[in-house]
Amino acid sequence: MSWQPRVVIVDDHELVRSGVRTSLGDAVHVVGEAGDIAEAVDVILDTNPDVVLLDVHLPSGTGGSVITQVAAEGNEAKFLALSVSDAAEDVIGVVRAGARGYVTKTINGDELASAIVRVAEGDAVFSPRLAGFVLDAFATSEPTPVDPELDQLTNREREVMRLLARGYAYKEVAAKLDISVKTVETHASAVLRKLQLSNRHQLTTWAAKRKIV
């Protein structure tokens, strides 16, 4: 990997930060670390990284508030949520706040590095779990949406999400559906955009009561 994205790691556990830093190795350039929301906002505004690896749960609130505060300052850092938390509320919350993707801490170093690069390049990163949340949240049985353009997945997007939920990488999804990786990325980004912009109030209600794995 020639280009190294500049990365800030935000997690309240020192041990996790050093672990993540170690497993990333030379793939990225870690420019800063932070342990709570205020510190995170400061570090990000100071170092102006390409990507922020953000824990969903922080001592004084959720990762989502880091995103909103940084965005309010006009900073264009991209966020990748990294968490052990699998509660739908947390995942949807942080993605709705503007995170470009969500991965769990079981991800290995190489995959995490390539996820960071992908986010830095403007793409969306889906873990199987996030894909599962999307499928669940945009279930077909929902009542008529307010804005069909935003509140529904196309069949192709749904197919892509199902393959991602089954643990397929973008490359494998592309091969399976006989489309290019670029097209898969386009679908993924479109789905993420829908997840962030969809004005269905159900999405929040759904996430709040959904205990999904």
């Binding site: 769990t104 199987p128 599962g132 669940d136 279930a139 049985s141 089954r166 643990g167 999904i212 794995v213």
Partner: protein, 407 residues
């Protein structure tokens, strides 16, 4: 033909003191000869008795009842001489017809002209229904009952209509007589007719179908037992063989013992699972496999369906797929995706490990065949395994919304 050595028949029949069997060498259907042998009487005497009684009409009903109640001489699976059996039934119907016509001509005091057609119709109906019964002996009746065999159903309907016609005309005739004896006869007539139509049906239902069901339940139980033992005891034994740590071996053995005991004596799985949802069900399967085999499994569950025994069985099959992936693939991560929608449940278990050729699975490897493929078939689902050496493996399980009751 009638003078076969009776002792030969005795030795051929293992149940000679139970339900009497129809004799294979009888004149019509073997009822008289069978009864004669059973009660050590002269065959001709019994036949004479039947013919005499038939003059009053009662004998016909007796004969038919005896035909139905007596065991068939041929074992179920050997009864492939259906033309013979059918011709016997037709012969019976023809005989009844002949008798009725004859009696009608002689202007007997017991059977008058008005009864000829009703009795004729009833006996024809009986012939048709009995033909169906003959089919049932060859294992087709059950399918006719389920509406699979159009002809079988047609025959039942035809028989029923004929009998109903007989009853109806008898009723019309009786209305004008309106004597006490006449009404009594009508009641007998109706009951007899109904018994003729539904007798074979109920009889076959109670015997053949019960037998079939018993056999299937036994086979299912066996497969269930084999699958369970494979999933639990055999796998724990394999784990124990591979571990070097005596403490872990002991703890595995203890845990297995506890589990086996609770399964043997409590069978908690067979209850209805109102307290469990799809997520919890698969979560427990995943954490169990993770704990035993130490390979992280990423579980994603979308949607929810009511958890019944079929879904529990599906989870067991999925668990077996996870165990296989943990043990054989060498993959560091296994993905499990469960999607439930409107009663249908789909499961994908995927690894990125060594992969294998699904066509080259040894006959003694019971995991895939018993614990996955057969299990899914039993609950009306399907399983597909996609894999090639070096390309990981994916096991796909689907449990459709319309499915059989769980075993």
């Amino acid at each position: 033909m009638t003078d076969t050595n009776p002792s030969l028949q005795f030795s051929a029949s293992p149940h000679r003191f139970g339900r009497p069997a129809r004799a294979a060498d009888g004149l019509l259907t073997g009822v008289s000869a069978g009864l004669a042998r059973r009660f050590f009487l002269e065959t001709t005497l019994v036949r004479l008795a039947f013919v005499t009684l038939a003059l009053t009409g009662v004998g016909v009903i007796f004969y038919v009842g005896a035909f139905l109640l007596m065991r068939s001489t041929e074992p179920v699976e050997m009864a492939d001489d259906w033309p013979t059996e059918n011709s016997k039934v037709l012969g019976l119907a023809l005989l009844v017809w002949g008798l009725v016509v004859l009696l009608g001509r002689t202007d007997s005091s017991l059977i008058v002209d008005e009864y000829i057609w009703p009795v004729l119709l009833v006996s024809a109906g009986f012939g048709v229904v009995s033909w169906q019964l003959g089919d049932g002996r060859r294992g087709q009746f059950s399918s006719a009952m389920q509406g699979d065999s159009r002809y079988g159903t047609l025959r039942i309907i035809a028989g029923g209509l004929i009998v109903a016609g007989g009853i109806g005309s008898a009723l019309l005739t009786e209305m004008s007589l309106s004597t006490l004896g006449g009404s009594l006869f009508v009641v007998l007539f109706v009951v007899g007719g109904l018994a003729l139509v539904f007798g074979p049906w109920i009889y076959v239902l109670l015997t053949d179908l019960a037998d079939e069901r018993r056999k299937r339940v036994r086979a299912d139980e066996r497969a269930d037992l084999a699958a369970h033992l494979h999933d639990s005891v055999l796998q724990t034994l394999a784990l124990i063989q591979r571990t070097d740590d005596p403490f872990e071996a002991a703890s595995l053995a203890r845990r297995q013992e506890r589990e086996l005991r609770s399964w043997l004596y409590a069978r908690p799985e067979s209850f209805v699972h109102t307290d469990v949802d799809l997520v919890t069900l698969f979560e427990s399967a995943v954490s169990d496999v993770e704990e035993r085999h130490r390979v992280p499994i990423e579980l994603v569950v979308v949607g929810d369906v009511p958890v019944d025994d079929s879904v529990v069985t599906l989870a067991k099959a999925a668990r077996e797929a996870m165990v296989n992936a943990s043990k054989f693939s060498g993959s560091s991560q296994i993905s499990v995706f469960v999607e439930g929608d409107e009663g249908q449940v789909e499961v994908w278990v995927r690894d990125r490990g060594a992969g294998f050729d699904p066509g080259l699975i040894g006959k003694d490897r019971r995991g895939i065949r018993d614990s996955i493929v057969r299990r899914m078939k039993r609950i009306g689902g399907e399983s597909t395994i996609t894999s090639a050496p070096g390309e990981g493996a994916e096991v796909y399980l689907i449990l459709p919304a319309q499915r059989k009751a769980a075993s």
